[in-house]
């Protein structure tokens, strides 16, 4: 928790979701997950630490780890 980083790429093939890859990619982008955006892990659920709440730029988005797997992030950027 508290992990911060910058989005490097979206790799939808890594997500174990029922959605087709291109559709998942579009949904992630529509919620602001694009390359270069800063993200921070804010909260996680009790069971299997799922779902998670992520700060992306100025919004807070809840999503499941399954889908979040598609978001590749560079290591800590200085806050």
């Amino acid at each position: 928790m508290g992990f911060r980083g910058r989005i490097r790429a979206l790799a939808v093939e890594r997500a174990g979701t029922g959605l087709p890859g291109p559709e998942l990619e579009r949904r992630l982008i529509e919620l602001g997950f694009v390359e270069g955006a800063d993200v921070e892990l804010l909260h996680q659920g009790l069971f299997g630490s799922d779902p998670i709440a992520v700060r992306v730029a100025h919004a807070t988005i809840a999503l499941r780890r399954r889908e979040a797997m598609a978001i590749l992030v560079t290591d800590e950027v200085p806050a």
Binding site: G18, R26, R27, H43, P51, T60, I61, A62, L63, R64
Partner: protein
Amino acid sequence: MSAAAPTIAPVIAPIVALVGNPNCGKTALFNALTGSRQKVANYPGVTVEKKIGRLTTPAGRALLIVDLPGTYSLRARSPDEEITRDAVLGRLGGDVSPDLIVCVADASNLRLALRLALELKRVGRPVMLSLNMMDIARKRGIEIDAARLSRDLGLPVVSSVAVRRGGTDDLLREIDGALANLPPVGAASWSVPDAGELRGAQHEADRLLAASVRRDGERDAGTARADSVLLHPVAGLVILLAILFVMFQAVFAWARPAMEAIAEGFSWLGTLVGSAPLPDLLKSFLKDGLIAGVGSVIVFLPQIVILFFFILVLEDLGYMARAAFLMDRIMGGAGLHGRAFIPLLSSFACAIPGIMSTRVIDDRRDRLTTILVAPLMTCSARIPVYTLIIGAFIPDRDVWGFVGLQGLVMFSLYAAGIAGALGVSFVLKRLIWRHAAGEPFMLELPDYKIPQVKSLAIGLWTRATIFLKRAGTTILSMMILIWVLASFPQPPEGATEPAISYSLAAMIGSAIQPITEPLGFNWQINVALIPGMAAREVAVGALGTIYAIDGGEGAAEKIGQIVAGQWSLGTALALLAWYVFAPQCASTLAVIRRETGSWKWMWVTFFYMLALAYVAALATYQIARALGAG
């Protein structure tokens, strides 16, 4: 042949559509502009229908304003977003595309809105950007160079504060100006964007943002602090349960003084009519039919108001999306989609808006499952029945020193409904449909907001008047029907039994008796259940009327005592079990038909609920009897 009538060119008012991300304040603006009272709340996905309002601008121009469900793009992934897409693009037969699109944006959270604005530019209609919630943005020290943004974006930009008087003046002026010289309809170049286009647009939006918005970046401090507790993996869940528990306790405990006062009022009214010089039959109609019947339902107004108070406060605070977050895994285990939580929680008030709000769920089966189980959530119309029986049969004492036993039983009835809903969805999704790990759960968590006293008051008032209107229409007419059934035919000369035993009601009730005998129901309950199909609370009024005619003495506040004297504990518990599951509401079934577009799912709901209710009541009664409470 008469001369041709002078042709009056139909004056068609221009249409202005409010389009924007979920929760940016479109409906709040719509209400401010048109004076309507559409539902506004602090979570994404409140509006699921298209609403049209009229207004006249300061310059005297009449126009139509259209409020739409929020969306992140025009791609339309769920039924509510399809409504927005069709209204913007003018697709459906009845949809005329708007003359002007107002892209509404939350000024404190502009990033995704700017992407949508870029997309809307391609629809080929004039677009303007309204930076709403400017009050919040200012308080947070976010500085927006509107002139620069307008130039870069190529769109007019105005600010608005939907919840403050005068907060829409600039917007109105700008709308007026835009409508005064509408350009000819441009060519629409919108097409469904692919990932590459979306990505490009978001990067473009990020550039625009960097150029004209300065913010000291961080999160809203209050929200961050609150969430560190409310979204804590353990504490968060405990608090959520505690909130629900307090809510149901309060419905029972806090309402009592007000309910007693209302009951007193009706019983005074009954006595007054009783002593008036009127023909006996008319007296019975007024006293037993109207006052005892309708009165016994209106008594529950305080409980309804308290329940809605809690729900409205949670909605306005911004807690609902958090609750969905906390519950996602638990609901997922039962095969329910994370987005199903808010519709199901709203169903505590009434299943109808709950079922409507499932439109935010994109997957058809996920949505259908939610629709099918929503009527199992304990809606406010069950409260009168629960309260009546609990008050009559459960001793009023505290357990563990601080929790009322009656409130605890109430809570367990809610829990039974929830467990039923989870069980049914589990069977549907995991055993019948064998649905693969499907749709993702993605939900924006808005910043907390302090609820506004005025909008809370309006919300409560709206709810209370709906309840009273129902009491005055559906319930009243059912009461009259019940009174007629229970009073005619009149007993023959020299009758030995109570008058009601000769009535149609007794005949009907006794005819059903063989079916409900194993549940421990008597004929009075049977008769009350039938009009209860139209609206659940009618059953209470019907019992009031039947026992009033039967015993002569009963007014609204007395049914509890009468029932306590006449039923066994087993019967009472079986009736509670019946009410947890039974499909006792015609309007809910009608909405299920409309929202699923098929009769099939309506009948599926009806019969599975009926079967559950029968089995639950049967088991309850038989077990109670075996334990000696029959």
